[in-house]
Symmetry: C2
């Protein structure tokens, strides 16, 4: 059974997609077979891996149960890395799922049906608290909670944490939070002070790996390339490589 890593935070623009894409590319580069599932109708993770034409079938069909993961995954330019792309229909998934049986376990069931050769499934979530992030967290082994060291993002952290714990209690006892991942963390005093506040509040739950603020990340995305490919020596790329190494080590230790 593959290990499922879900990137979740209902706050917008704090680095979920950037983390999902770069983590997937790193895990694939380490030799693991990876499928990135893009549950966000914005489809930034799908285009971030260079897939520009919207897929005809993808994450929506997976969640609706009309296709298997083996059927909707498509190869990318990166060896060992496949993507189950997002389409606009995902925006209507909440209402669609609300009227169906077993709405929370769709992704978990789809992952069970995967061929044995897949090692990791990485899930990118939309900035919301609806049925799609719930599917991502019900299917998951490790949850990563990105956050930027800014007051509005910090405000939402306690709520995101509580949301994850509720899912763990009621729907997925196997869920472990790998940790809170500080992203876009610049050298300015506001960021440093805010990062300290988050560490003081959440302690060990904050990962030792910190993704620095680095304009090269934005530059990479203008070429539809992950930063670990576009600028492998950058501080942000090295931090993502460290994150992948950590996830692999923790998975083996489990």
């Amino acid at each position: 059974r593959p290990t499922v890593v879900t990137i979740f935070n209902q706050k917008g623009g704090i680095g979920k997609t950037t983390t999902a894409v770069n983590l997937s590319v790193c895990l694939a580069a380490l030799g693991h077979t990876v499928v990135l599932v893009d549950l966000d109708s914005q489809s930034n993770a799908t285009t971030g891996l260079g897939i520009v034409a919207p897929p005809t079938r993808g994450a929506y069909e997976l969640i609706a149960g009309t296709a298997t993961l083996a059927e909707v995954r498509s190869p990318t330019a990166f060896p060992n890395l496949y993507v189950c792309g997002a389409t606009d229909e995902l925006a209507g998934a909440d209402i669609e799922l609300a009227l169906d049986s077993d709405p929370q376990h769709r992704l978990a069931q789809a992952v069970k049906g995967l061929p044995g050769d897949v090692d990791f499934v990485v899930v990118d979530c939309p900035p919301a608290l609806g049925m799609l992030p719930v599917n991502g967290l019900v299917a998951c082994d490790w949850a990563i909670l990105p956050v930027t060291p800014e007051p509005m993002a910090r405000d939402g952290l306690a709520k995101a944490w509580r949301h994850i714990q509720r899912i763990r209690t009621n729907l997925n006892r196997h869920l472990e939070v790998a940790g809170i991942l500080l992203t876009m963390t610049g050298p300015d005093p506001l960021h440093t002070a805010m990062a300290e506040t988050i560490r003081a509040e959440f302690g060990q739950r904050v990962l030792p790996v910190v993704i620095p603020y680095d304009p090269v990340v934005v530059e990479a995305s203008s070429h539809d390339r992950p930063v670990v490919v576009h600028a492998p020596d950058s501080a942000a790329a090295r931090a993502y490589v460290d994150l992948a190494g950590m996830i692999v080590a923790r998975t083996h230790a489990r």
Copy 2:
């Protein structure tokens, strides 16, 4: 009837709340009576106006039709400015509304019932394409579409624009897009190049007012104060004052 200004973009973290809060404060400072409606369950606009205890009744009751805007609006520290706060229940509004009659016009109906002394209603939307942003756009006279000059945010702009036009055609013929508001626009070459790309693509639809990237905005939010109050001489504050002046002028001209 009040003029409704809705701040919309499904992309996360691009300055919707910062715009809604600062625009509201400026309109109130100009002597207009303003109600800020926070449709985002993250409730960043509610706390951004200094309301720390979650309201017992607010935007959810308004949308569900169990309370009027006059009943749920509460005063803020700013003269002439009221807020209809957000609560966690809003996260479930899509499913709630999907099973009700006339789900798209709830906010529009609530605004009709407002006392005659309200001049502006400003609506902050969650980063999504669901029923809540639809309610915001169906009720609105002016839509403002914030965007950061970054590739992933630009990717979503055409989709956001199409979404607004569909609502205008099918649900609210009165809707006018005030324009695309460039936010967090820094001096670095990537931002400048991206801002040019957006202007080349959208032409006159891009507002002449640009909100610069300014760390003082983040500092202000750590004090739960809008930047126009925390640092009124900052470039970001002055840009928001200009935006408010423009909205007032266009409203009078209409």
